[in-house]
Every structure is written in structure tokens, then in C-alpha cells.
């Protein structure tokens, strides 16, 4: 084995410093995203749960509120983000539970890569799942509430809000999945932290739907961008200490 290993090291077949270079870092992120998407598109376990939940929430709001067209438009931003937030919690929980239940999180942590690569891999996967669900929910919502949601500004706000929500959500889901009360713990941890993102997202979305000027909605959008940067930076720094015993 030693000879094989030595020869492999010399030929570059096995890279011991995989985790130490930028190429390895990005390859690891890509590998995790590939693995998550491949597994999900085979089972549809996570997206289908998020999607069914989202559609049910929208339907319940639709029938419960019984609003006229004008009032419906005024509650759109709130209903939309409440739906994304609750469905997102389901997805984050399930995504990390799949890693934990078969010991796969340990498998990831055993790889010789910088552990922040694992965080970013899971973050991009979770973001992809959330965006897929949102892409399906938006047209359904548009039809049910008779509101055009396909506005570039609104799509940008949804992207920014989803990035903020998923970045901190991935970190907190990694933390909560290691406890017995993970299903209950994640929303308890997540919602107080992500409240500011949701508030900014609702304000920005509402402003766009009300056709306010860019100057009027600049503040919540800037706030969203700031939260995104802070949450990603904080998660990048904290992930290693969260996953280590």
C-alpha cells in the first residue's frame, strides 16, 4: 500500500492537500451540491414536502381571508414571505436530517476539505431547493390572488431574501439537527434571527407591488443585502465550531 500511495502521491493521483487549495474548496462545494440535487431529483422527498406545504398555506390564506382584489394585493407580500419562511424551515430541517440520520454529516466532516466548503455546499443546495419551490409557488399565487408577481424587482427581492434566510438557516439547522428536539428547535432558533430579513423582504416586496419608486424601496433592499453579507460571513466563521464536538 505504501508503494502504491507513494506512486500515487508523486503522480498527483491522490491529493493530500485537497482542502488547502482554492480548487479543492470549490470542487468540494460543487460535489455537495451535485450530490444533494442528484439525490433530491431521484426521491423528490424534500421539494415535494416544501411544495405541498406552500400550496396548502396559500390556499388556506386565500379562503380564510376572503379579501377583495385591492386588499388581496396589499397582503400579498406578507402571505408570500410567511409561506416561504414556513416551507423553508421544513426544507432546512429535512436537508440536514438526511445528513445526520445515516451519519453522512460525519462523512462530510471526515473529508480533508475546509469545513466552510461543507457549509457553502449545503447553503447552495438549500438555496436551490428554496428557489425551485418559489418558482412553482409564484405562478400559482399569481393565479389564485390575481396578482402579477413576475416583476424583475420582486424576483430580485425574493432572491435576496432567500439568500439571507437560507444562509443563516443552514447554520442553525446544522446546530439544531444535532439535538433530539430538532424539529421544534429550528424554528425557535431561526425565526427570531431571521425576523429582520423577513421584515425587510416584506417591505421591499410590498413596495414593488405598490409600484413605489426605487428611492422608496432602496432602504429595505440595502438592508437585505447587508443582512445577506453579515449572515454569510457569520456562518462562514461559526460553522467549524458548530460541527465539532
Amino acid at each position: 500500500m505504501d508503494d502504491r500511495r507513494r506512486a500515487a502521491d508523486q503522480s498527483g493521483q491522490w491529493s493530500n492537500d485537497h482542502g488547502q487549495n482554492a480548487g479543492g474548496f470549490f470542487k468540494a462545494i460543487g460535489a455537495i451540491v451535485w450530490k444533494d440535487l442528484r439525490a433530491e431529483f431521484r426521491s423528490w422527498e424534500l421539494i415535494s414536502a416544501m411544495l405541498v406545504f406552500s400550496l396548502l398555506v396559500i390556499l388556506i390564506f386565500n379562503f380564510a381571508l376572503e379579501l377583495d382584489i385591492k386588499t388581496r394585493q396589499s397582503v400579498t407580500a406578507g402571505v408570500l414571505w410567511a409561506t416561504f419562511a414556513f416551507a423553508g424551515t421544513l426544507g432546512l430541517n429535512r436537508s440536514m436530517a438526511l445528513e445526520k440520520d445515516r451519519g453522512c454529516l460525519d462523512g462530510l466532516l471526515l473529508a480533508p476539505v475546509d469545513r466552510s466548503a461543507i457549509y457553502f455546499g449545503k447553503f447552495f443546495s438549500n438555496l436551490a431547493f428554496m428557489l425551485i419551490v418559489e418558482a412553482i409557488v409564484l405562478p400559482v399565487y399569481s393565479v389564485l390572488y390575481n396578482t402579477n408577481l413576475f416583476q424583475p424587482g420582486l424576483l430580485l427581492v425574493i432572491l435576496l431574501g432567500s439568500v439571507g434566510y437560507t444562509s443563516i438557516g443552514t447554520l442553525l439547522a446544522t446546530m439544531s439537527v444535532q439535538t433530539r428536539a430538532r424539529d421544534i428547535l429550528l424554528p425557535i432558533l431561526l425565526f427570531p434571527v431571521v425576523f429582520a430579513v423577513l421584515l425587510a423582504a416584506v417591505r421591499a416586496s410590498g413596495g414593488i407591488l405598490d409600484n413605489l419608486t426605487i428611492a422608496d424601496i432602496a432602504f429595505p433592499i440595502n438592508l437585505l443585502i447587508t443582512y445577506d453579507v453579515i449572515f454569510i460571513a457569520a456562518s462562514f466563521m461559526l460553522f467549524d465550531s458548530i460541527v465539532e464536538e
Binding site: A31, C104, D106, L109, A111
Partner: protein, 232 residues
């Protein structure tokens, strides 16, 4: 190959490892035996860099833990009683994923080699969730040696396996050891440990209570040695 000095691990107020010393030479197959709660899994998790020592020194293949964990992980394979595999991926996809994580170039060739070694070449395109427990454990060993590690850690690899699966795992474990790797295995199964290991260390109350080579144990027997170590 592995040197551990005065290792202490505490979880809150509970001390699991109490100044443990341990050393393994290259190519040795060490069976780490002990009752439940002795700290075997905790110790293996520290060696695997999954857990941080509270006090003490851990040196693996010339690299210190936790400071040089990335270099240690590149030289280490781990098999636990959980498979660390994704049920919704095929065996080949699981190995391809881990090959990417370990930065293995020409992974296809290596994946085929590993699948042949664990006897799953003809099931490579089956989803892992359709595998039996024994097959999953064999694939888990394939995953652990995919990057050709110098050291392999086995944590209770026989847990949940029936006789046939255990016998097949024996063959794979012997193959792994015969390739010149250094192996540390925790187990409750004294008979299997006796058959496979070249050295036996008994872990009791957070320290190595006794250590003996296969030759030394042959004079008595492993069960007697084990009982004496725990009694002492």
C-alpha cells in the same frame, strides 16, 4: 503511526477519557476492547478529528490534532456502525461523491477497484437504500479506503450484521489489513477481534487498562485477558 499522550476528554462535567496513552506502529491491527461507556467511540472520534481533545497530545502520521486535522483526514479512513452513505444515490454515485470530496483524480478506475474489493461490482448501479445492512457495511469500507488511507479506524463494524454478513465483512477487513494499512478497531466481539487483530488493548474507565500482542494472548486466551484487565 499513532501516538496519544495523556489524552483527556470531558463532556461538561463528565470525564470520558482520563489521561489515556496509546501508540500504534505502522501496519499493526489493534483491537480496542472494552465495556459500554468505556470511551472507545469517543477515542476513535478524536483520532478521526471529529471531536476535539480537552487535554493531551494526539499525533497521527506525523501530524498533530487538532491543528493539522486536514492532513490527518487525508490519511485516514473511518468505518462506523452507521454507513455514512446516501440511500438515494447508487453505490457508484456515493463513491464518486466521496472521490470528489477527497480530490481523487482518475476516480472511475479507483471506484471500480474498490467495488471489486468489497464484492459489489455487479451492484454498482443499485441504490444504496436497496442494499442489505451487510452490503451497506461493505460499501462503507470501500468508501473508507477509497482515497487509499494509511490508517483505517473501525468503530464496531459488526453491529447489526447477521452471521453471513459478518463472515463477508471478515474477508473485507482481512483484505484491508493485508494491504499494509494500520488498523484500529473497536469491538465487543472478542472472537472476531482475536481472529483479526495483532494487538489487543483494553479500555476501561477512560484509560488503557491492559495491552497485549496476539502471541502474549495465545498463552492464555483473550476472554481471560479481557476479564483480568477489567477486574484490575
Amino acid at each position: 503511526m499513532i501516538t496519544v499522550n495523556k489524552l483527556v476528554k470531558r463532556f461538561g462535567l463528565k470525564t470520558v477519557l482520563r489521561g489515556m496513552d496509546f501508540a500504534v506502529q505502522p501496519g499493526e491491527f489493534v483491537a480496542l476492547l472494552g465495556p459500554n461507556g468505556a470511551g472507545k467511540t469517543t477515542f476513535l472520534r478524536i483520532l478521526a478529528s471529529l471531536s476535539r481533545p480537552t487535554l493531551g497530545e494526539v499525533n497521527i502520521a506525523g501530524f498533530k490534532l487538532p491543528g493539522e486535522a486536514s492532513q490527518v483526514r487525508a490519511r485516514l479512513g473511518v468505518v462506523s456502525h452507521l454507513p455514512l452513505l446516501y440511500g438515494d444515490l447508487t453505490a457508484e454515485e456515493n463513491l464518486r461523491f466521496y472521490a470528489r470530496m477527497y480530490g481523487i483524480a482518475n476516480s472511475q478506475e479507483r471506484i471500480t477497484e474498490v467495488l471489486e474489493m468489497v464484492g459489489l461490482e455487479n451492484r454498482r448501479r443499485d441504490l444504496v437504500r436497496a442494499y442489505s445492512r451487510g452490503m451497506q457495511q461493505r460499501l462503507a469500507i470501500g468508501r473508507a479506503v477509497l482515497h487509499d488511507p494509511e490508517i483505517v479506524l473501525f468503530d464496531e463494524p459488526y453491529t447489526g450484521l447477521d452471521q453471513d454478513a459478518s463472515s463477508m465483512l471478515d474477508v473485507v477487513l482481512k483484505t484491508v489489513a493485508a494491504q499494509g494499512r494500520t488498523v484500529v478497531m473497536t469491538s465487543h466481539d472478542l472472537a472476531r477481534a482475536e481472529e483479526l487483530a495483532t494487538r489487543f488493548d483494553i479500555l476501561s474507565r477512560g484509560v488503557i487498562a491492559a495491552s497485549a500482542t496476539r502471541r502474549q494472548v495465545k498463552k492464555t486466551n483473550l476472554l481471560e485477558f479481557y476479564k483480568q484487565a477489567l477486574a484490575g
